[in-house]
Amino acid sequence: MTGSQKRTFAQKLVIWIPYAWLLVFFLVPFLIVLKISLSHFALARPPYTPVLDLSAGWHGIAAFIAGLSFDSYALIGSDPLYLLSLAKSVEIAAFSTLLLLVIGYPIAYGIARAPRRLHAALVVLVMLPFFTAFLIRIYAWMDILQRDGPLNQLLMALDIVREPPVWLATDTAVYIGIVYSYLPFMVLPLYASLEKLDESLLEAAADLGCRRWQVFWRVTLPLSSPGVRAGALLCFIPAVGEFVIPDLLGGSQTPMIGQTLWTEFFGNKDWPTAAAVAVVLVILLVTPILLLQFQAMQATDRG
């Protein structure tokens, strides 16, 4: 049915219950974050002013609006800590996404070219670590990357290094952590678009005189670009705001923006600043998120 019939009550419920839920617990929260980011820090409970007092009527609302300020944003703009931390987050997320593409593409390609009856099993194998708790997987790398951990033992035993190199508390460890945790998000969309690729197209390209790498460069890669885009967005967006990975594996030089937010909130109890950081982060991510949603909705409508 192409929306031609008048909706029954049940159908309206099916639309409105999840809709209302997301409005209340997803959209409204953002507005509240926005509002608090415009508040002053205060030593009170809740630790910000002004508090919107609806019982005071119009007077209360007017007082509330008069009390709003851009102080938190001014602070973010003036203190280099925030800007450095933002820059670092974007840098780490962008470089991780690139690494994920380079590592994920051959894996996705390998699955797509495998005998068809193995596809489902291989996809499950890629998904499986994602189901085992994220925290566990990061913790596993804490084990492995320790000074006397298995990685260094292996490197020493193979005589590749003399002195055990330091892994933990470095950016390298953060990259390893992100690539490891986000790999399924990269491989699955890539596989989805590579799997749809008609093999006769590759044969046609070869027949028309393309060498193997040319076939890849001129046919396979362009045709898998929706997968590349989806994978890159699915990895980049959450990676920018990552907290657990840099907190457990990274160093203390420059925190990522997620860590900064966490510290403002839990450490300094400065809610307005934490909210302002969140708003800045959302603004930064709005374009990639809209891109992703546009692509996903297009796929839905085509189906």
Binding site: M1, T2, S4, Q5
Partner: protein, 354 residues
């Protein structure tokens, strides 16, 4: 019995069905014939209730169906890909519609058994759709609709998914079934021979409109416009001005004469249509020199029962002739590059005014 009045359906800006009116009579086998994208499936979906019309009415036994949801319409549809429920076996698929009516268990079982016998599926009741052949699935889909005893059965390209041999057989089964049950069938097809064989009447559709509604013979022998003549079968067309006597046409290839008087002003542009199988090819010019043109054989397509001759005629245009290979022709055979004479009887030609 089924009446469509001024029905229109637009998708965005494209009119899939454009101010269309149609009457289908009780017990009739009606075929909607048209090229793909002409709106025939949309018309079917409008009747079934899956689409809502932008304008116009659909009446069944005088009752407007607009407010009736698809699940309450006494109309059933057989889908092109059959839409059998993959999680139910054959019996459950067929019984599905009856269960919605709240009939007793025994009655459902009885009617399902009857219909399965009718379509020769008795031994397949426990099978799942994916365990059946294409022809068997087609029959399950048919049985699933028939068991509901619909006022009108809509069939969307019911034979398109079958291979050719099976399709030919199933056409006749379908006709026999329709006659036996006395039901009204509306079939959608893009295959003209299918429509010609099964239907009592054919509605030829183009770009959302019905161009001609008539019996198969009428459509083939007396198409009402060039488009129908060309879409249904092959045709040779000669353009010219109508002469004063109302039966002769001055064309680039000379004067052509038709048997019936042409309904147009003298001097108007008209077209003379001749089916390839009604064209004669001779080595010598025919004695009366009527409706005759000289030509050269370009190539010959041998089809077994017939041969199709492509010819270049004197005014530089192409012509087609189909000659049965009956084997008792007294003439010597015609070869490519040969000069020949083409002629046809006035009774074999139709004049078209649009």
């Amino acid at each position: 019995m089924l009446r469509v009045e001024g029905l229109s359906k637009r998708f965005d800006t494209v009119a899939a069905v454009d101010h269309l009116s149609l009457d289908v009579y009780q017990g009739e086998f009606f075929a909607l014939l048209g090229p793909s994208g002409c709106g025939k499936t949309t018309l079917l979906r409008l009747i079934a209730g899956f689409e809502r019309a932008n304008a116009g009415r659909i009446l069944l036994d005088g009752i407007d169906l607009a407010a009736v949801p698809p699940y309450r319409r006494p109309v059933n549809m057989m889908f092109q890909n059959y839409a059998l429920f993959p999680h139910l076996n054959v019996e459950a698929n067929i019984a599905f519609g009856l269960k919605q009516e709240g009939l007793s268990r025994d009655e459902i079982a009885q009617r399902v058994a009857d219909i399965m016998a009718l379509v020769k599926l008795e031994t397949f009741g426990r099978r799942r759709p994916h365990e059946l052949s294409g022809g068997q699935r087609q029959r399950v889909a048919l049985a699933r609709c028939l068991v509901k005893r619909p006022r009108v059965l809509l069939l969307d390209e019911p034979l398109a998914a079958l291979d050719r041999k099976l399709r030919d057989e199933t056409r006749f089964e379908l006709m026999a079934l329709q006659r036996r049950l006395g039901l009204t069938f509306v079939i959608v097809t893009h295959d003209q021979s299918e429509a010609m064989i099964v239907a009592d009447r054919i509605g030829v559709m183009d770009r959302g409109r019905l161009v001609q509604v008539a019996s198969p013979v009428e459509i083939y022998e007396r198409p009402n416009c060039r488009w129908v003549a060309d879409f249904v079968g092959n045709v040779n067309l000669f353009e010219g001005r109508l002469g004063d006597d109302g039966t002769s046409v001055e064309s680039a290839t000379g004067r052509l004469r038709v048997a019936a008087k042409i309904d147009a002003e003298p001097g108007a542009w008209v077209w003379v249509a001749v089916r390839p199988e009604k064209v004669r090819i001779t080595h010598e010019p025919p004695p009366d020199l009527e409706n005759c043109v000289a030509g050269t054989v370009v190539d010959i397509g041998y089809l077994g029962d017939l041969s199709i001759y492509n010819l270049l005629i004197s005014d530089g245009s192409r012509m087609k002739a189909a000659i049965a290979n009956s084997g008792h022709s007294t003439e010597r055979t015609i070869r490519p590059e040969e000069q020949v004479w083409l002629s046809f009887l006035p009774e074999a030609a139709t004049a078209l005014t649009r």
